[in-house]
Structure formats: structure tokens, C-alpha cells
């Protein structure tokens, strides 16, 4: 009886443990990012491009996920409000605020923190947080760094080298900031970022999934999102469960259409295909992976960026230049001698990808990929 019972039960049990949409819950949570309701006012961040880290009657704290963010407030009673913004570009300004009072406050510790004192009367207010020139086409540089995990203790070495790179607008991340994604790890990761001179826009990796539900979005915002910087589209996708949730696939239709006529960069943690294969570090379904990269290629995506594999690889998927860069400090792949590293890209909305290079933190030299 017992053996017969076991035979019948084990497969449905596996079916229950497994799931066809492991990312569904957090993808739906993306829709809540940037929306908050308080006693005195409501906040809505356009496209969820900032996490509301604190909301009280006199203070609103935002963690930005993009260089340019639009915020709407519905104010119910006259308020003196401190707007505190973290993960901001150094030149970030508050504009289009037609409220009565606006007093910039001294920045907090670090170049990426800003704050203003606002006087708000009842009604609706809309404002924009952006550095001058971010809405105009032009050339710029950004860096890519992923897979820090257990190496938060040593991340300051990496940040020092990133800070020494000239004219970086921001650092892009492809996930695995922490080992387990617990709240104290995420908090610590944010504190460590205070020494970085540029903001860090990132999605999550499988190592942020140690808690259920993951705390990641409360700290860093959406897992799937798109932003535009100097005419270049950046789409970050949540592939932390080795799949893209169908809801995010739907959003991708719009995001691919947005970027079709410009330079478009797509980043995610787990690559659709593992170019080496030793770790099977790719999507769970090769069919889904093939369908995704075919969509990206058909939409004219110019560059794909991945993490997850703790090394550096340059390859192509469906003809799109692709890089895996997992050099944030987590245990490196055996015998590849790449070590801790980050990448630097130079882009222009009209001229495309101008150059890319790998900066090795511990070896003190660069690998020029394409200059």
C-alpha cells in the first residue's frame, strides 16, 4: 500500500514543488513599486522607476532605478516635506515643480544622495528628477558590474577602481548583489554604495531569492523595467528564476517597440544561453531562450548584458553582441584567471556602441574588446 501510494504521489508532489511561473509573484510586485499612500499625501513614480523607501507626513525618501524619474504627488493638506533621493546622478536636479517653495538641502553622505525641502499646498504636483542633458541624444559611458554575493566586505576595492574611471554616468547591474537577498544584506549593500560616485541601476539575480517573498524590490525597486538615457534605451529583465515571467514578456513587447529606432541595451542576470556550458547557467528551457533572443534580434537590440557566471565572456546571441560579466567579487570560475572586474561601455544614441572594455580590479590592466 505504502509503495503504491508513493508511486502515485511523488510526481504530483514534484509538480507542486515546481512551478511553471516561479517569477509571477515578484513580477506582479513590480506593479506596486513606486506607489505609496500616506495620511498627508500619495506618491506615484512614473513607470515605477524608484522605490519608495520612506513615507511619512514630512519626509519622502526614494531610491532611484533610473537617471531620470517623474514623480506625482497628491497632497491633501499643506505640507513641509523633505524629499530625500538616493542613487541619483551627481548633477541631478528637481524641476517642473510649480509648487510655492523649493529649498535644496545639503546633500547627505555620498555623491548620489540629494534632498530638498518642499512647501506643498493641497492638490496634485508633478516633478522631474534628472541631471541636465539626460533627455538629449549624445554620447556617454557606463559601467557594468554584477555578482557580488558574499564579497560585500571587499566591494570597496571595486568601487575605488570604478570611481577612478573618468566620465561614467552610472553603473549597471545584472543581479546577485547579495548571497541570500535578506533585508540586512540588501541594507548593507545600499550602505556600501555610499562611496560610489555614480548611481547603480540593477535588476536582481537568483541569489536575491533566498527569502520568500524576496525583499529586493522594497530596497532596489522593480525587477523588470526600462529607462532612457541620452536617447539610449536600457531594458532590465528579471531572469533570476531561469525564465522570464509571461507578464514581463508582455511588457517587453512595448519596451522592444520603444527601443526599435534607437540604440537598445538589454540586461538580465541568467543568460538565455550559456556559451560555455560547464555550469548549465542558462534558462531552464532552451526553447524559451531561443524565442527570447529571436525577439531581441528581430527588434534590433544592439547589446545584451548578463551576469550569473563568475567570469567574463564575449559572444553573440542571435547576432546580438553579448557579454557575461560576473566579476563583482563572488567566488570566481575555476582557472579562468579573470578575477574581479567590471566592464565599461561607450554609447551614442545615433552612432551605436562605440567601445567596450574590461577593467580588471586585481590585475591592474584592461582588456579592450572593441575600440
Amino acid at each position: 500500500m505504502n509503495r503504491g501510494f508513493n508511486r502515485v504521489v511523488w510526481l504530483p508532489l514534484l509538480a507542486a514543488i515546481g512551478c511553471t511561473r516561479p517569477a509571477e509573484e515578484r513580477t506582479r510586485r513590480d506593479l506596486d513599486v513606486g506607489h505609496a499612500h500616506g495620511a498627508a499625501f500619495d506618491v506615484e513614480v512614473a513607470s515605477g522607476l524608484a522605490a519608495v523607501r520612506e513615507l511619512s507626513n514630512d519626509r519622502l525618501a526614494l531610491w532611484l532605478s533610473a537617471p531620470s524619474v517623474e514623480v506625482s504627488l497628491v497632497v491633501r493638506e499643506r505640507q513641509e516635506l523633505e524629499l530625500y533621493v538616493e542613487n541619483a546622478m551627481a548633477a541631478l536636479e528637481l524641476s517642473d515643480l510649480d509648487a510655492g517653495g523649493l529649498v535644496p538641502l545639503a546633500s547627505g553622505a555620498g555623491a548620489t544622495k540629494k534632498s530638498w525641502q518642499l512647501t506643498l499646498t493641497p492638490g496634485s504636483w508633478h516633478f522631474r528628477l534628472a541631471a541636465p542633458g539626460t533627455a538629449e541624444n549624445g554620447g556617454f559611458r557606463f559601467a557594468l558590474m554584477s555578482d557580488v554575493q558574499e564579497a560585500i566586505d571587499r566591494i570597496q576595492d571595486v568601487y575605488r577602481v570604478i570611481d577612478s574611471e573618468p566620465e561614467l554616468d552610472f553603473l549597471l547591474g545584472a543581479g546577485d548583489l547579495t548571497e541570500e537577498g535578506e533585508a540586512d544584506e540588501l541594507s548593507r549593500f545600499q550602505r556600501e554604495l555610499a562611496t560610489l560616485d555614480v548611481p547603480y541601476y540593477t535588476t536582481l539575480g537568483n541569489h536575491e531569492l533566498g527569502e520568500r517573498p524576496p525583499a529586493y524590490q522594497d530596497w532596489f525597486g522593480r525587477a523588470n523595467f526600462q529607462f532612457v538615457h541620452r536617447g539610449v534605451y536600457f531594458t532590465l529583465l528579471d531572469s533570476a528564476s531561469a525564465t522570464i515571467d509571461p507578464l514581463a514578456e508582455d511588457w517587453l513587447d512595448t519596451w522592444l517597440a520603444n527601443g526599435r529606432r534607437s540604440v537598445h541595451v538589454v540586461a538580465m542576470h541568467i543568460p538565455p544561453f550559456d556559451p560555455v556550458g560547464t555550469r548549465n547557467a542558462s534558462f531552464a528551457s532552451r526553447a524559451e531562450a531561443a524565442a527570447l533572443v529571436a525577439r531581441l534580434a528581430e527588434a534590433g537590440v544592439d547589446l545584451t548584458l548578463y551576469g550569473h557566471i563568475h567570469s567574463y565572456y564575449s559572444f553573440e546571441n542571435a547576432g546580438i553582441p553579448a557579454f557575461i560579466s560576473g566579476g563583482g567579487g563572488s567566488r570566481p570560475e575555476h582557472a579562468d584567471d579573470i578575477g574581479r572586474h567590471f566592464m565599461v561601455f561607450e554609447l551614442d544614441a545615433t552612432r551605436g556602441i562605440l567601445s567596450s572594455k574590461v577593467v580588471r580590479v586585481d590585475h591592474g590592466h584592461e582588456i579592450d574588446e572593441d575600440e
Binding site: 508511486r7 511523488w10 510526481l11 514534484l14 509538480a15 514543488i17 515546481g18 512551478c19 511553471t20 511561473r21 516561479p22 509573484e25 537568483n206 541569489h207 531569492l209 533566498g210 520568500r212 533570476a240 528564476s241 531561469a242 525564465t243 541568467i270 548549465n280 542558462s282 534558462f283 531552464a284 528551457s285 532552451r286 526553447a287 524559451e288
Partner: protein
């Protein structure tokens, strides 16, 4: 990797049941998805039961759990001579 048993008694020859793990990620069921950190690493798990209730007719019931959960029911018809135990070839 799998474990199977040949069925006897009221089942005709060729009847068998098995449970298995298949590391392939490139078929319809593909790799196993979970909510945790190791999603996608494993391949699919499956089970099937092939039962011939006459020497020529049978059914196949199969199920796979991977990225997709797949189940199937097939009617089996086999042609040709069946060798019976002890008979000359």
C-alpha cells in the same frame, strides 16, 4: 537516470513502468523551475506506464515535470509476431 519495473500478471509482455530524471533542457518539458535560487539547474522528472492488455493493444500514460508540466495518454498498437516463451525462432 531512472528506475523501471516490468509488469507481469494480467499485463502482457512489454508492459512496464518507470520513473526517471532527464537532464535535457531542450525538449518541451525542459528544465525544472522552482521559486528558489536553483531554478533551472535541474532537468525534468517523469514517469510513464506502458500496459499491454492484449498481445497487440495497450496504453501509455506518461507525465513530465519541468518548465512545463506535460501529461499524455496514448493507445498502443503493435504489429508483427510476438515470440512466446520456449517457442522456436
Amino acid at each position: 537516470m531512472g528506475l523501471g519495473v516490468a509488469l507481469r500478471g494480467r499485463a502482457e509482455a512489454g508492459s512496464e513502468a518507470r520513473v526517471y530524471y532527464d537532464h535535457r533542457h531542450d525538449d518541451y518539458a525542459a528544465g525544472f523551475l522552482t521559486a528558489g535560487r536553483i531554478s533551472g539547474v535541474f532537468g525534468k522528472f517523469g514517469a510513464d506506464l506502458r500496459w499491454f492488455f492484449t498481445p497487440r493493444l495497450g496504453v501509455l500514460v506518461d507525465a513530465q515535470v519541468g518548465s512545463a508540466q506535460v501529461c499524455g495518454l496514448s493507445l498502443l498498437l503493435r504489429e508483427g509476431m510476438l515470440r512466446t516463451s520456449g517457442a522456436a525462432p
